[in-house]
């Protein structure tokens, strides 16, 4: 009986050994980033995967493999046949979409990546000008892996209130929610080799990219989407004497407050934006350390933000007919009778939006 018990115990233990099918890290391509491009064949896509080589004797720090397929997974299947190691997505942090792919709709790729539990909902997404494959071949001077470099750029852009930080989950959330359309960072090439600029935002209607908001518009979109972090707000200021100079206010914190009102059957949206700032630059002669002057600078900042935001809203309403700010979510809640999800973008284009900025200068820096 004792022997039998011993045998059963031994057999059970052998099942419970967790390491029997373990895979060594040298046998895995831990995919760091995925790139998707269009191909000449309309129904096929080109997928590029990048993984660190890890092997100490490897010539390159990374391995990039591309293949064509009908979908993300069918292309991966073809890639696997070219790769000497098992492809794993557990550490994939970046999805790069070419502009062409973004403009043809991306929901199927997002769905595939979210469905697989191996992937991560926090995987960041960007759109690049040109081909994703070409971008992924670059080796940036300061980081061994391009994806790390891009992720740092996105992170900095987000922290300075310039671009959104879109990941699979947040994109899908905007895509599925009624009354808001998705956005994501847009990468451009700079003038120098390896200079990558991420200070623009690609705007989407449903899952399809419809336009690009450059630098200033991109930053203002962030403010309107209530994503106010660090970063500077610079403008030309004219003082009492008529002389002009540049004032830069560093954003410390900010928040939006949106209220709605029906005035003569016309929907009016009142968007208050409160931003607390510190003076970081004041190139005019004379001091700013004066209550009156501070109030004037605040008023000038308010005026500038109001004008810029109104211009951006006009662009979204008339040129793109697309509510990427998410006013529809408020209308859905407060005026459900006039909110029709499928027609919201059209309704949005006729809504009267009042931007009410409220800059507050809290500190003036170390100089008077």
């Amino acid at each position: 009986m004792k022997r039998l018990k011993g045998l059963i115990l031994f057999l059970l233990l052998s099942i419970l050994l967790g390491c029997w099918d373990s895979t060594q890290i040298e046998d895995i391509y831990l995919i760091n980033s995925i790139g998707i491009d269009k191909t000449e064949e309309a129904d096929k896509i080109n997928v590029t995967l990048i993984a660190p080589t890890i092997h100490p004797e490897a010539v390159e720090p990374k391995a990039d493999i591309s293949s064509v397929g009908y979908s993300l997974r069918s292309a991966q299947d073809n890639i696997q046949s070219k790769a000497a190691r098992i492809i794993k997505y557990t550490n994939t942090k970046l999805l790069i979409l070419s502009e062409e792919i973004a403009r043809s709709g991306i929901s199927e790729h997002v769905d595939t990546l979210l469905r697989d539990p191996e992937g991560r909902g926090t995987m960041k997404i960007i759109v690049t000008e040109g081909m994703a494959t070409e971008l992924m071949r670059l080796i940036p001077p300061v980081y061994p892996l391009l994806s790390e470099y891009i992720l740092k750029l996105v992170d900095q852009g987000y922290k300075t209130t310039t671009i959104p930080s879109t990941n699979l989950r947040s994109f899908n959330n905007d895509l599925k929610s009624e009354g808001i359309e998705p956005v994501m960072p847009y990468l451009k090439y700079g003038n120098k080799e390896y200079e990558l600029l991420i200070n623009s935002t690609a705007i989407f209607k449903n899952d399809t990219m419809i336009g690009i908001l450059d630098n200033l518009d991109s930053a203002n979109l962030m403010i309107l989407r209530n994503e106010i972090h660090d970063g500077f707000f610079s403008f030309i200021y004219e003082d009492n004497t008529g002389s002009e100079g540049i004032v830069s206010l560093r954003k410390i914190k900010g928040r939006s407050n949106i209220s709605l009102e029906l005035i003569d059957s016309q929907l009016n949206i009142f968007h208050e934006i409160k931003i607390t700032t510190h003076v970081s630059e004041y190139t005019l002669d004379g001091a700013i350390y004066d209550e009156e002057i501070i109030k004037k600078v605040e008023a000038a900042a308010n005026d500038k933000l109001k004008r810029d935001c109104e211009a951006l809203i006009k662009k979204l309403q008339k040129e793109y007919v697309c509510d990427n700010i998410g006013y529809g979510k408020y209308v859905k809640v407060y005026y459900p009778d006039i909110f029709l999800a499928e027609d919201w973008n059209k309704t949005f284009s006729n809504v009267v939006i009042h931007i009410i900025p409220d800059f507050k200068i809290e500190k003036v820096g170390t100089k008077i």
């Binding site: 059970l12 099942i15 419970l16 099918d21 557990t90 539990p117 991560r120 909902g121 926090t122 990941n167 989950r169 947040s170 899908n172 959330n173 599925k176 929610s177 009624e178 979510k329 408020y330 809640v333 407060y334 459900p336």
Partner: protein, 367 residues
């Protein structure tokens, strides 16, 4: 006829813990999806309504049991509803408990197969779960009670993990409050009831509490209200994050809820959650399993529950392997969920009414 304390007894504290432990299990993963399908942004209101209903029926069940301190479930049910009906109820309950254990085990192995061991055959995962459960349950209720005292701590991690993702949530997704309409909110009560299933064990376990005292009723209801509060916060925060439209597409909402932030130190916090969740489901399985064993032990008057524990093992193994896929597991669970209405609502109410009818009669006789 039947010795109450033959196979171990539990303390009142362990009873409260087991009420919490059996209710927080598989249901927590997809609860908000199931309710939001009907009650939309007001799913959390359905949970509260359901919690109140269950608190009432639990109070009724314990009230009746408290009035029969020297009897076990089958004895006082026989007294109130006649012997054949009592045996029939207990037998049906045991069958239900066995089926339920099998399905929960399958749910757990599907989840383990999806997230941790995609290449390990379901049969192996299921076998290991059953073997571990049998090991926990074979020594009777006392040990299951102690096991759950430890396991219940994993729920603390669920509560803590609600907070990080809240930074990405929006109150707008929960508004307008009541906007989905009274009918839809009430429709959402039923799916939320399924997630609370299991509380009916108080019928069976109360007679086995060694330190019975008048406060058990109050604290048992508190246990249910604690679970209600936990589920309400869980559902509200998940809907606030995803919105009721996106949530309809997500199978394991509680796990994906954690997959929205990059967290320091623990890179994939959802895996961390899944580990604790696995333990918590073991709590549910062990209680459901011992409930089935105690049920049949009461009917057949055997010396130990372990006889039935071993007897059920192959049966549960087969039941767990019967569904072809995750979709069928959900379909069978829905059917089983409907059956719990009988044990969780109808039986306690019936016993309560019968107690008062009979009690009134007895008082008249005495007079």
């Amino acid at each position: 006829m039947i010795n109450r304390y033959r196979d171990g007894e539990i303390t009142s504290g362990q009873l409260y813990i087991m009420i919490v432990s059996i209710m927080i299990g598989t249901g927590v993963l997809g609860l908000s999806r199931a309710i939001a399908e009907f009650a939309q942004q007001d799913a959390w209101i359905s949970v509260i309504i359901n919690g109140i209903i269950i608190s009432l029926t639990t109070a009724m069940a314990i009230y009746v049991a408290q009035k029969h301190p020297e009897m076990n479930f089958i004895q006082y049910t026989a007294k109130l509803l006649s012997k054949p009906i009592a045996y029939l109820i207990l037998f049906t309950y045991s069958v239900y408990a066995v089926l339920s254990t099998g399905l929960i085990i399958r749910f757990l192995s599907d989840m383990v197969g999806t997230w941790f061991l995609p290449r390990t055959p379901t049969i192996i995962v299921t076998f290991i779960i059953i073997a571990s459960t049998v090991y926990i349950v074979k020594d009777g209720l006392t040990l299951v009670g102690r096991f759950n005292e430890i396991i219940v701590l994993s729920i603390l991690s669920f509560i803590i993990l609600i907070f990080p993702s809240l930074s990405k949530a929006s109150v707008l997704n929960l508004m307008p409050v009541g906007g989905s309409g009274v009918v839809n909110i009430l429709k959402g009560v039923l799916p939320s009831y399924y997630s609370f299933a299991g509380f009916e064990i108080v019928l069976l376990f109360y007679p086995l509490v060694s330190n019975k005292n008048p406060k058990i009723l109050k604290y048992s209801v508190f246990s249910i209200l604690f679970v209600t509060l936990f589920y309400t916060i869980t559902v509200a925060s998940q809907i606030a994050l995803f919105g009721y439209i996106e949530i309809k597409d997500i199978l394991y909402v509680s796990i994906n809820y954690l997959d929205v932030l990059d967290t320091p130190v623990i890179e994939r916090i959802e895996i961390f959650f899944a580990i604790f969740w696995t333990f918590s489901v073991f709590g549910t399985i062990s209680i459901q399993y011992i409930a089935a064993s105690i049920g049949l032990q009461s009917i057949f008057n055997t010396k130990k529950t372990s006889f039935f524990t071993y007897l059920f093992a192959p049966l549960i193994f087969i039941i767990a392997l019967l569904p072809r896929n995750t979709v069928e597991v959900a379909a069978y669970s829905d059917i089983l969920g409907k059956i719990t209405i009988f044990f969780g609502i109808i039986i306690p109410v019936l016993l309560y009414i019968m107690y008062h009818l009979r009690g009134g009669k007895m008082k008249n006789e005495k007079a």
